[in-house]
Amino acid sequence: MFGSVARSRLSPRVTMGVLVAVVLIALVAFAGVLVSSERSARGDLEERFSDRGVASAELIASLFESASGTAQMANAERYGGAEVSADALARRANDADNRYLLVLDASGEVLGGSPGVTPRVRRMLAARPPYIRAALAGRVFTLSGVESGEDGRPEFVYSQTFETSFGRRVLVAGLDGRLIGAFIAGSLRRLPRVRDARIFVVDASGTVVASPSRALRVGQRVDDAPLLAALRRSRSGRIGDRHFTSHPIAGTPWRVVRTAPNSSLFASVSGLNRWGPWALFAAFAISALAGLALGRRILRSAVALDAANARLASTNATLAVRARELADVNDALEWTNTELGRSNTELEHYASIASHDLQEPLRKIQMFAERLTYHDAENLSERSRDYLARMSGAAGRMQDLIDGLLSYSRLARQEGPRADVELDVLARDVVGDLRLAITDAGGRVELGSLPSVAADPVQMRQLLQNLIANGLKFRREDVAPVVRVEGTSDEDTVTVSVSDNGIGIESRFADRIFEVFERLHPRTAYEGTGVGLAVCRRIAERHGGAISFTSVPGEGSTFTVTLPRHATLVAATPPHQQRDPRAVTP
């Protein structure tokens, strides 16, 4: 099958090459898809991670922006007069938990301040840090990095511009670092969590502005030199097995920083999730390669199969030719067999018909001879009467011959009923029938114990009668005939022997005595037609048995019949041709 496909399309080598190329291309494509999908999955994860940092930064910036926007108007009202009330500033600072509160004019001179405005604050103002400069330049609001307050506690400087009829003014507030840090940390907590991820806000120097974690306190320096160094270099990236992103918060020198272990961040594309597809890929690759190897072997065996198939086909063709020849011979044999069966049947039929047709004129000869004798005997000469008597005698013997032949040929066609025949009973009956002959001969018949046999009773009777009568008939002169009938049986076979003390049979006649019409003696010595023993043999053979004899000439003979105990009828003619009524009736 493989062979025929390979032969009809491509040579095995080309087929194999194409297969290898296809498999390799499929493997490379598969690997490419895997790599790119993994890469894009990582990109997606990083982006999402980063986006949330951006969102946090924008949220924080917008909180300050909106607060500052609304405060601008109020501040202009509160501190827009010619004089800035120190009391109002003090009250306001107190209300808003500011460390201090002061107002600058456009040139940066202090117009008024709350009690918390210390020399340190004034020095800071005088130094004109960027968050003051930006406010003076008109930026709505600006925040400082983490500063150290009077008591060393962290502090942020918040500056805000507002316009008055006297020109631009700047509100500067000292914000409690921890309060602000806690407020910002609260907004950071709302972010979706990544396992072992950290988020915090730092200022430009790397000092913590806000952190939801207790491990990092506001004002503390981030104790993570590699991270700080990386933050200086880029906004996001990888440090060892961590990933980080940072996002500046508008209006401040702060940045929202997020870090996460790669294993957590890329959990969905790492471990089994990462290696699973590659394991599948490996399995696929191995299967494909194994398939190739198998294919190679199959192709090879296909070539071998092709050759074997070709040999088989030629052998088959040869066999088919032989089979046809055999079938022809068989047909011929069958025909011959049928012909033989037919000719056999026809022969039997002819024997029967011929016998009957012969019998008719014979009967007429006898009858008219009888009529002649009866009517005209006195008119006939002595010689004519003798002729007439001889003629009648000859006709009578012919009648006997025909009767014998008829009964013999009838044996071939008749399928007698099968019955359990008790041979000893049968033998006693036969002896009874022969009583006259026994008495005439002055002899006797001795019956031993005989078995029973499954056979046709009529034929068994005929068999015994013929053998016993023969024993009586072929007696020696002056010796009273004694016929002994004995039988034995075993599991399968029944044996009946009939012995006599008669003239015996010379062994050279052994082949002939069972033939029809075979006579060893002139009719003048022993009467008979020569059919008796032929009938015996036919009966024995019809029952699947056999007949044989042993003899010592001048002392006697023993005829032995063996029959299967459960005899099966052996058809002498094909069964379907038996019991044809035309073959039976005269």
Partner: protein, 154 residues
């Protein structure tokens, strides 16, 4: 012998063999059977006779119904078996006794004849003396001992 008030029954012999017809006729004569014997040559003629058709039809030859039929089995045209079968399956003819008289001694013929409804089966003896004996026995039984139905034209 009781006197028979009825007409002597007719014996109808069906046999194709002229010799046999003559011998049977002579044997019946020898046995001093007084009944008339008529002969037909085969089964068809037998049925023509019995059914009064053909040569035996109206205006044809006399076809007095027989008291008993002697029937040979092997005849040309229609053999004895077929004739027997036809007679015994005919509601009017079946009452006529049929005695098969044949040379056959075959068991098959005997069984078959009785199966077809033969009233008796006799094998032709090989000698004339035997035939006379048979004729005497036949006549004694069928014409004297047995009561026959009144012959009735069909």
């Amino acid at each position: 012998m009781p006197s028979r008030p009825k007409r002597e029954p007719l014996i109808l012999l069906a046999d194709d063999d002229e010799d046999d017809r003559q011998l049977t006729s002579e044997a019946l004569g020898e046995a001093q059977v007084s009944s008339e014997l008529r002969c037909v040559k085969d089964g068809e003629e037998l049925l023509d006779y019995l059914c009064r058709r053909g040569d035996y039809g109206p205006g044809g030859r006399d076809a007095t119904p027989p008291g008993v039929i002697l029937l040979d089995l092997n005849m040309p045209r229609m053999d004895g078996r077929e004739a027997l079968s036809k007679i015994k399956s005919d509601p009017d003819l079946r009452r006529i006794p049929v005695v098969v008289l044949t040379t056959s001694r075959a068991e098959e013929d005997i069984v078959r004849s009785y199966e077809l409804g033969a009233n008796s089966f006799i094998t032709k003896p090989p000698t004339f003396t035997g035939l006379v004996e048979v004729a005497r026995g036949f006549a004694r039984y069928w014409l004297e001992v047995a009561e026959l139905p009144e012959p009735r034209p069909v």
